[in-house]
């Protein structure tokens, strides 16, 4: 069926949006393989974003953990500090070609908001970013960055005041202003064709990594490890390796205060199937289908759903999904900072925490590629507070 990954995906949206999704899909099909479009995209990715990003052998981390060789895909080195910009540049080029004058987006940690505001700035489009009030408070630096970039940050006070509610509000805006507005969804979630479009723009991560590891090691990796909120950095790394059966995929979700407490964001590990934001996928919900607010120390993972393609990967056992707690993520954050001199985003720190478990189980001939999806500058203040350090 159209827009499905197994039984997941689809377009569970109000009728008003169907025409806009059709329009977006038609534009995407038209430009996806268009040489001029791709030339423009590639030139922005290289000259503006700074791609390709290095695949860095983390020798000290490898030694520290003992076991498999660990490589870091350095998405933290992208302009704006995370992988999010790969998607926003691609979508803004599409929006331009569709003649849209206004851009909206939702954001959790603020990384997607910053990446969207950045893309809107260089293409001179009006830009409004929806952000939950709770996230605005814990990510004040990114809020200021978005405003510096000329975007309007709209505080969302409904529901749990986090990413889920910011997404609701962005969809409501889109329903209202659909004729001249393009909605840049920041992850591989939402109604078809969004999960596919965002995946394809993020697949540059895995395409580069595949070539780089073959160049460096002459063989494919044994494991790919990435954190999963909505799941865009993970899909971006995994997808180009989909047909390589010998490459194992591990997605690391946020277990928050612990899966047993119910305060987590582990939709795949501890959720059930249902519809959120236009797609059938694994979500966090109660017995009556009411969405349960997620919890994670990391605003970027604090989402009670996940991209439909991950749900398909889980059910078909193409990927394995695990969850690590807030506390473990903090340890991962400190570990990478101390051992490699790289301060990771709190989101990525979840995957670092899992490396401590995975790497020692493997032998030194084996290879792990870990997607370092973003840098942690934005989290430093929040972490200081968490560690009870006065700045």
């Amino acid at each position: 069926m159209k827009g499905y990954y197994g039984e997941f995906g689809g377009r569970y949206v109000p009728e008003t949006l169907i025409a806009a999704l059709d329009e977006l899909e038609a534009a995407y099909r038209k430009y996806k393989d268009d040489p001029d479009f791709n030339k423009e995209l590639d030139s922005y990715l290289s000259d503006y974003v700074g791609r390709e990003t290095p695949l860095y052998y983390a020798e000290r981390l490898t030694k520290e953990l003992g076991g498999a060789k660990i490589y870091l895909k350095r998405e933290d080195l992208n302009h704006t500090g995370a992988h999010k910009v790969n998607n926003t540049i691609g979508q803004i080029l599409l929006a331009k070609r569709m003649g849209k004058e206004r851009i909206i987006a939702e954001t959790g940690a603020g990384q997607h908001g910053v990446a969207t505001a950045t893309a809107a700035a260089i293409f001179d489009l009006d830009c409004e970013i929806y952000m939950g009030l709770e996230d605005i408070e814990r990510q004040s630096l990114n809020v200021f960055r978005m405003r510096l970039l000329g975007a309007e940050v709209v505080p969302v006070t409904s529901g749990s005041q986090t990413l889920k509610d910011a997404t609701n509000e962005a969809i409501r805006d889109w329903v209202t202003n659909v004729e001249h507005t393009h909605y840049i969804i920041g992850s591989v979630v939402g109604p078809h064709p969004y999960p596919e479009i965002v995946r394809d723009f993020q697949a540059v991560i895995g395409e580069e990594a595949r070539e780089q590891i073959l160049e460096l090691e002459g063989k494919l990796p044994d494991y790919l490890v990435a954190c999963v909120g909505g799941g865009s950095n993970a899909i971006g790394l995994f997808h180009p390796f989909f047909a390589d059966d010998e490459v194992n995929f591990v997605g690391v979700e946020a277990a928050g205060r612990g899966l047993e407490t119910g305060e987590h964001a582990a939709s795949l590990t501890a959720g059930s199937t249902g519809v959120l934001h236009g797609a059938m996928s694994y979500i966090l919900q109660d017995d009556y289908g009411q969405i349960i607010p997620a919890h994670s120390i990391s605003a970027g993972l604090d989402y009670p759903g996940v991209g439909p393609e991950h749900s398909y990967y889980q059910d078909s056992q193409r990927a394995e999904y695990v969850a690590v707690t807030d506390e473990e993520a903090l340890e991962g954050f400190q570990l990478l900072s101390e051992v490699e001199g790289i301060i990771p985003a709190l989101e990525s720190a979840h995957a670092v925490a899992y490396l401590r478990e995975l790497a020692p189980q493997l032998d030194s001939e084996q290879i792990i590629i870990f997607n370092l999806s973003g840098r942690g500058d934005k989290d430093v203040q929040a972490i200081a507070k968490e560690l009870e350090v006065e700045l």
Binding site: K2, G10, R11, Y12, V13, P14, E15, T16, L17, I18, A19, A20, S158, G159, K164, D165, N168, I171, R172, V175, T176, N177, V178, E179, G274, V275, L276, H277, G278, I283, Q285, D287, Y288, G289, Q290, I291
Partner: protein, 264 residues
């Protein structure tokens, strides 16, 4: 024939437009909803939409979002709503339509919902985030007792009008504007044109909703449609009288009578 179809048949003979109020079930309590439904029926409503409160109502504006929150805080769930309908069916034959988001129905189990709805006397289902192409199961229902009411918007093209017409039973819900639910000061300028376009491909009654709050707007819409839906304006009256049941019923009754008179 189901109660909705029967009602539209009767109204057609009188050349009258149906007035269809929307309230959220359980706002502020299921007991209040029970009294409100009786009040709505008495004041001139021809059929009633009962909203199933949902945590993430993305087609709704602030008024209905807050009504949903009040209902959820009061502990409203689908089982409670089915019990309410069963109680109402001992007192009234007014057509009752459940309007809710797909995940509520999906999680409860679709077969179970349908069986339960038919058993207690629900007449139709409106699921604003379930377009016909995602709803094979709902289409199978066309043979059953429940009316399956799909939505059309001014952005829907001819192909979609045909698809929705084919999947719908009872009436088609035409969304008057591009946007979420909630009172607006003006009707959409292209509304008549949109309804004419739908009319060319459908013989089903057309009910228009979203954004209609005043008697003037209702009267204008009634010239071109078989049904007028008003939600947020009624919920505002409920919200303004949360502590006084008698005043709540009186205010809601007064508004509904005005609106029905305007389209009669």
């Amino acid at each position: 024939m189901n109660r909705i179809e029967k009602k539209f048949g009767e109204l057609a003979l009188e050349d009258e437009t149906a007035f269809i109020p929307y309230i959220t079930a359980g706002d502020p309590s299921l007991e209040a909803t029970e009294a409100l439904v009786e009040q709505l029926a008495e004041s001139g409503a021809d059929m009633i939409e009962l909203g199933v409160p949902y945590s993430d109502p993305l087609a709704d504006g602030p008024t209905i979002q807050q009504a949903s929150q009040r209902a959820l805080q009061a502990g409203t769930d689908l089982d409670g709503i089915f019990n309410l309908v069963a109680r109402l069916r001992e007192k009234t034959e007014i057509p009752l339509i459940l309007m809710g988001y797909y995940n509520s129905f999906y999680k409860y189990g679709f077969e179970k919902i349908v069986a339960k709805a038919e058993e207690v006397g629900v007449d139709g289902l409106i699921i604003p985030d379930l377009p016909p192409e995602e709803s094979e199961k709902l289409e199978e229902l066309k043979e059953g007792k429940l009316a399956t009411i799909f939505l059309l918007a001014s952005t829907s093209d001819i192909e979609r009008i045909k698809l929705v017409n084919q999947a719908s039973r009872g009436f088609i819900y035409c969304v008057s504007l591009t946007g979420v639910t909630g009172a607006r000061s003006e009707l959409a300028p292209n509304l008549t044109e949109f309804l004419t376009r739908v009319r060319n491909y459908s013989e089903l009654p057309l009910a228009v909703g979203f954004g209609i709050s005043t008697s003037e707007q209702a009267a204008q819409v009634a010239k071109h449609a078989e049904g007028v839906v008003v939600g947020s304006a009624i919920i505002d009256r409920i919200k303004d009288n949360l502590d006084n049941r008698e005043a709540m019923l009186a205010e809601v009754g007064k508004l509904v009578k005005e609106l029905k008179d305007a389209i009669r």
